[in-house]
């Protein structure tokens, strides 16, 4: 089983595919324009521009002083001047640069892509939080977080279905569950927010004091899995770990 579990990997591959497409389009476009539309000139601290800006300031000063003289300087064609296709001038709101068709194009196409991504994300969401009728055969197990350890409560299930023990190698608490059985983990906390995260399966939910939240867990591969705390809860937040062991 790949990291994050099956549901995650399927979506991840699809999203990565579209991300690559969007990313490639954007970056190729950017790199292309950065090269093709560059200019080696445009030394605006050079003499010509300096004169031009002094001229603009002079014009404004004269206007303020009430002198209404209009004058133009003959501007020769200077091939080395920085091209000013939109005739940008200080104090003048520049000429419109617009193309409605293009704008609609890159509004509608991303919108369609996003609707599609939303659509494909819907079903996996339902799989993670199944409807009540799909959970009639599920077994309830209590998981309570407390600073700074996990408390598992098998609630009268047989020890084949659910068992709590201690791992001899590491000293961590072990919750043993059975393969292919559906479990509803009822999460709560005795003090602050915690969040059990079964890392490999990519499942987590906050354990909130004063209420019950749920993780629906149907293990589909045997092994010992790492569970850690994924909501900051104080000093030993990093050390609040346990093991979920799935057996046949």
């Amino acid at each position: 089983m790949e990291f994050g579990g099956d549901i995650f990997q399927e979506l991840y591959v699809e999203f990565m595919f579209w991300s690559l497409i969007v990313g490639v389009i954007t970056f190729v476009w950017m790199i292309h324009h950065s090269f093709v539309y560059r200019t080696s000139d445009g030394d605006l601290s050079g003499k010509r521009h300096h004169l031009r800006t002094q001229l603009d300031s002079l014009r404004h000063e004269m206007k303020r002083a009430g002198m209404d003289m209009e004058f133009e300087i003959e501007e020769e064609e200077d091939k080395r001047a920085w091209p000013n296709v939109d005739n940008i001038k200080v104090g003048v709101f520049p000429k419109e640069n617009d193309n409605l068709k293009l704008e609609l194009f890159w509004t509608i196409i991303p919108f369609i892509l996003i609707c599609y991504l939303c659509w494909i994300s819907w079903a996996p969401t339902d799989a993670i939080w199944p409807a009540a009728y799909e959970l009639e055969d599920a077994h309830e197990v209590g998981v309570t977080g407390q600073q700074w350890f996990w408390d598992f409560d098998c609630k009268g299930l047989t020890s084949d279905l659910c068992d709590v023990g201690v791992d001899s190698d590491t000293g961590l608490t072990v919750l043993s569950l059975k393969l292919d059985e559906t479990y509803i983990l009822n999460l709560s906390s005795r003090d602050v927010l915690h969040a059990p995260k079964i890392v490999q399966y990519g499942l987590t939910e906050d354990a909130v004091p004063g209420m019950y939240t749920t993780i629906v867990f149907t293990p589909y591969e045997t092994g010992k899995y790492f569970l850690d705390c994924a909501e900051y809860c104080g000093d030993n937040h990093a050390y609040m770990t346990a093991i979920i062991e799935i057996h046949t």
């Binding site: 089983m1 990291f3 994050g4 979506l11 991840y12 999203f15 954007t26 950017m30 324009h33 950065s34 539309y37 560059r38 605006l44 521009h49 300096h50 603009d56 300031s57 404004h60 303020r64 920085w82 091209p83 000013n84 296709v85 939109d86 200080v90 003048v92 709101f93 617009d98 193309n99 293009l102 704008e103 996003i114 991504l117 994300s121 969401t125 600073q147 350890f149 190698d169 590491t170 003090d191 602050v192 927010l193 969040a195 890392v199 490999q200 399966y201 499942l203 939910e205 906050d206 004063g210 939240t213 899995y225 790492f226 705390c229 994924a230 909501e231 900051y232 104080g234 937040h237 990093a238």
Partner: protein, 780 residues
């Protein structure tokens, strides 16, 4: 009465009020957290401090002293015991007479009977071992280094009540490595942090003094210094306040960076103990808070203050004194925030401050943290009022709404979002503050409160907040790309609508921060949809920027490079952000380093890079000097490359399952080898690589600081319009005089007149000042 006496009396009254407030403020006792929530029959770690009557000790099982030097790898059987205290005043048959907690900094502790157990990596007693004063356990010596054994004991009076009549004490033993190795010098995390901050502050003060001196070597006298400092302390001119924001923002950017370096040193290797857990937790809290509230927002405010009045052709903001107050609330808030840290018990709650831990943590710095942020909320709210009114009413003639420069538009949208969302945060903060000080129960479940209330209040602010910091960067990039390419920005109207769209949608997506907090599936879906939709206006903006370059003539200056760098990193950050709304992926990625990577890509790669571009773009205007292009390009290359080296691998670490906000991490080895879901060895290598790159990124930004100072003193004089921009700030000289405009200019329009739309027409009728009032608004 003379004016001077009035001011003295007022000052004394204020001091007296403050003194009275301090005297009568509620007290908050802190005590080290012991075992919570378990009905233990003992008042663990009673609040009165350690009791001298209780004498803990660790010896070898045969009663002899611990050896000075251990034999590497041998197992010693320890005898853990205590004498004295309430346990001995009663019949030893009583229950719950004693408890202990033993931590070994090196080597392994193992229980040898059912009276002790390992809990959360520390050796403590079990239920069965609750009724005694002596315990045995094994300690296996490490192969090298000094081991510190720290023992805390409880002497319980056995009346089975959790009362303060129980006593506690603690003791430490050091057992050195073979050969009488002296205990290794261990750098104390807090000491390193404060040394770093102090060093920054001293260098900063030296730089300021040097600049002051160089400007006029004759001026090192009180007669010249006093007006200079008075000007800076009391100015209400938007340019001075803007500069104050810059200086404060850059200083705290450095402080936040030092905090980040501490975090990265701690995370550079697995199982590291450079920072204690407390220190690590408070450092990441303060890193987030300082960076967002004391660095990013002030720097944005600095540009808003400097540039917006210039761009709209106003002489100042509408409420200049309010503006100055907004600024001065910031250092006040900063002092409160950092005081918690200086005490050693800084807030350890994350910048998100989730409940109930924020109300129950024994770190009293959390109270300061909450109080300081209330001041910052006030500062932001006032800024919001100021800018909205200024932009609505003080635009120059000829500048309708649809003729404003895009930077001004971005500031308007940003402060509108801020103004609407931040008071909510203030409410949450005040509730938490009351919870901590006078025991209200807003977030206390046992009394009917709800911790999720904070989550809603915080994220209703928190999500628009992150757009508040990134939207001005959008404005800067629009200006920089358009000017660098010497073209009008493509699609001005859609850029405005996209900004407005982002501003609106920001408020309906905040639930995506709470996707794993027990939401109903329907709400989860709605949040997923709206969050994905926000990519549409953002995408429009990115494509418009790219199209702006089309047909232009790009000149590569440092600000251009930063704008292009922004396009790269912000696009990557936006794309990685798209993975989270797909909720089935969110459950795997939540609270992992994938999240850290995403938000640093948009916050640093977005906001900070936008601010860098703004620095290089507007520096000539603000200071009247050109910055060194060579240093600028050097800064860009080193910073951009090392930045990607820091945050790109974090995507990988997140996918591997490395959880964030963890004091340390362990890689799969030895006894963990068959547990699936632990980190592979490459995670350690990536973390080390990230730390090295983080140091490079930190140092590279010092190039910009040096550039700012040296260009200010020696840079080439800047013309009014060095880059060829069109907006009004390029009309005035560099630096602008005060007042900036002797006569308010009129904006001309290269486009033929078009009939304003109905909405615009309505707004313009309400908002445009009458022609007669132009010259008089500013400077109330």
């Amino acid at each position: 009465m003379q004016l001077r006496n009035v001011w003295t009396v007022r000052a004394m009254v204020i001091v007296a009020v403050l003194f009275a407030a301090l005297m009568f403020s509620p007290e908050h006792e802190a005590r080290p957290i012991g075992i919570t929530g378990v009905d233990s029959g003992c008042y663990c770690h009673a609040p009165d401090g350690p009791s001298g009557a209780v004498v803990p000790s660790i010896t070898l099982a045969n009663g002899s002293e611990l050896p000075e030097n251990y034999d590497p790898g041998t197992t010693y059987t320890l005898l853990i015991s205590f004498t004295g205290g309430p346990a001995e005043d009663y019949n030893p048959d009583r229950l719950n007479t004693g408890g202990f907690n033993l931590v070994a900094s090196k080597g392994t502790l193992t229980p040898i009977d059912n009276t002790t157990q390992i809990m959360a990596g520390e050796l403590t007693h079990t239920d069965a071992g609750n009724d005694q004063q002596t315990w045995y356990a094994n300690w296996t010596a490490p192969t090298s280094g000094s081991a510190v054994l720290r023992l805390m004991v409880n002497s319980v009076n056995g009346d089975n009540l959790a009362t303060p009549d129980d006593s506690w004490n603690a003791v430490s033993y050091t057992v050195s490595g073979a050969g009488g190795e002296a205990p290794t010098m261990k750098a104390n995390g807090l000491t390193v942090l404060f040394s770093g901050i102090l060093l920054t502050a001293i260098l900063f003060a030296i730089a300021l003094t040097y600049v002051f001196y160089v400007r006029d070597p004759e001026s090192f006298s009180w007669a010249r210094f006093k007006p200079w400092i008075t000007h800076w302390l009391t100015s209400t001119d938007h340019k001075s306040v803007g500069t104050l924001y810059f200086v404060s923002g850059l200083f705290f950017l450095g402080v936040g960076g030092i905090l980040a370096m501490m975090i990265r040193i701690q995370l550079s290797s697995p199982g590291n103990d450079f920072l204690t857990k407390d220190e690590y937790n408070s450092f990441f809290t303060l890193h987030g808070t300082v960076m967002i509230f004391l660095a990013a927002m002030p720097l944005i405010n600095g540009f808003a203050n400097w540039i917006v009045p210039l761009q709209i052709g106003a002489r100042d903001l509408c409420f200049p004194r309010l503006n100055a107050m907004s600024f001065w609330l910031q250092p006040a808030g900063a002092i409160l925030l950092l005081t918690g840290m200086f005490s050693g018990m800084g807030a350890d709650v994350g910048w998100t401050g989730y409940q109930p831990i924020t109300s129950t943590t024994d770190h009293y710095g959390a109270t300061f943290w909450l109080g300081g942020q209330v001041l910052l909320v006030a500062s932001s709210t006032l800024t919001g009022i100021n800018f909205i009114v200024t932009i609505a009413t003080m635009r120059a003639p000829g500048m309708g709404w649809m003729q404003m420069p895009l930077f001004t538009w971005s500031i308007l949208v940003s402060v509108m979002m801020l103004f609407i969302s931040i008071p909510t945060f203030g409410i949450g903060l005040i509730e938490a503050y009351l919870d901590r000080t006078i025991s209200t129960t807003f977030y206390n479940t046992a009394a009917g409160g709800d911790p999720l209330l904070w989550s809603h209040l915080f994220w209703y602010f928190g999500h628009p907040e992150v757009y508040v910091v990134v939207v001005p960067a959008f404005g800067v990039i629009s200006e920089v790309i358009a000017t660098s390419a010497r073209r009008t920005i493509f699609g001005y109207r859609s850029m405005v609508y996209a900004l407005a769209g982002i501003g609106f949608v920001a408020f309906i997506v905040y639930g995506h921060h709470m996707l794993t907090s027990g939401m109903s599936p329907l709400l989860r879906f709605v949040v997923m949809l709206t969050t994905m939709l926000v990519a549409v206006p953002t995408g429009i903006k990115i494509f418009n920027w790219l199209k702006t370059m089309h047909g232009g003539s790009l000149v590569y200056r440092t600000h251009t490079l930063w704008a292009l760098g922004f396009l790269v990193t912000f696009t990557l950050g936006g794309i990685s952000g798209m993975f989270f709304p797909a909720i089935a992926m969110d459950v795997h990625l939540h609270e992992t380093y994938f999240v850290v990577a995403h938000f640093h890509y948009v916050l640093v790669g977005g906001t900070l890079f936008g601010l860098f571009a703004a620095f290089y773009y507007w520096y000539p205007k603000i200071t009247g000097r050109m910055m060194s292009e060579r240093l600028g390009i050097l800064h860009f290359l080193t910073a951009f490359i090392s930045y990607n080296g820091v945050f790109w691998p974090m995507h990988k670490l997140g996918l591997l399952g490395m959880t964030r906000r963890h004091h340390t991490y362990y890689i799969r080895a030895d006894e963990y080898s068959d547990i699936i879901g632990t980190l592979p060895p490459e995670a350690a290598q990536w973390n080390f690589f990230i730390t090295v790159c983080a140091f490079m990124f930190f140092l590279s930004n010092l190039i910009m600081v040096y550039n700012i100072i040296s260009s200010w003193l020696n840079g080439r004089k800047a013309p009014a319009d060095p880059w060829g921009g069109w907006s009004f700030e390029w009309l005035v000289s560099s630096p602008p005089p005060t007042p900036s405009f002797a006569e308010i200019p009129t904006l001309l329009n290269a486009n033929p007149d078009r009939e304003p739309g109905r909405l615009t027409g309505m707004l313009e009728r309400i908002m445009t000042p009458d022609p007669g009032d132009e010259g008089e608004e500013a400077g109330h």
